[in-house]
Subunit: 115 residues, 2 copies
DNA sequence: CTTGCATATTACTATTTAGTAGTATAGTTA
DNA sequence: TAACTATACTACTAAATAGTAATATGCAAG
């Protein structure tokens, strides 16, 4: 009796999922997350690591923080950010896998098709 | 000795992942995908199922098709669309799981905190 | 208190895009 | 051929937002 229920998403879940996907749809934010996936970093370190402007880094971190993808911890004058949602790793791995699969598929189509 | 290599995404992968996340960041498109996850459907059926306008449905399907999230098959005058990327199921399940986890966390914080 | 630094916020511009109405294309039937 | 239908495309408007510079906030040292 442990059949997996494949229930449809509710409209509210759709809205929320769209909101979360939108947050992950910005290269700048993915780049920040990519750095944080290595280790937690202060804003200054992220500026250094990414080459982005301070205001931009801070703004994007605010978005990620509000969605709880990252967490913030004050250290004196500094603010240290860290990944706060382990689902991010799975999401990124899935997406990367799909990108590679797709690249492979397209290559196959080109080489195996008669035209 | 089977350590999982956690390699960083390349800049190109980040760009592509952002593009794909963006495609999934539109509620209208998620709603179309939700319908198609039940069964394949023609454009007319999708209009009926979602209440969206024809032009809008067609446009969003075009975006999903270009990204290969769905596939199209002509049937006489009709065009039948179907999910073409099984990663979508995993992605949606992950996202829905995260939404529920987060809701649960927030609830716990409210009830267990002294303030 | 004043100075200096790290971070956050604000105001602005420019770009993107969702939704829509109208039009075009293509298959089907007579 | 013409008429009908399903779908795709085009042009447009309105809304959202990324990046930036400038300013504000808050902590820390002297």
């Amino acid at each position: 009796m442990q059949a997996k229920k494949k229930k449809q998403m509710s409209d509210a879940q759709v809205e929320e999922a769209a909101r979360l996907f939108a947050i992950l749809s910005e290269p700048s934010r993915l780049i920040l997350l990519r750095s944080l996936m290595e280790r937690s970093m202060t804003v200054s370190e992220l500026i250094e690591a990414t080459g982005m402007k301070q205001g931009n880094v801070s703004k994007h971190l605010g978005v990620l923080l509000e969605a709880r993808f990252v967490a913030r911890e004050k250290e004196g004058n500094f603010a240290r950010y860290a990944i706060a949602d382990s689902n991010l790793f799975a999401l990124c791995e899935l997406m990367c896998g799909r990108i590679e699969q797709e690249a492979h598929k397209r290559l196959q189509e080109l080489t195996s098709r008669p035209g």
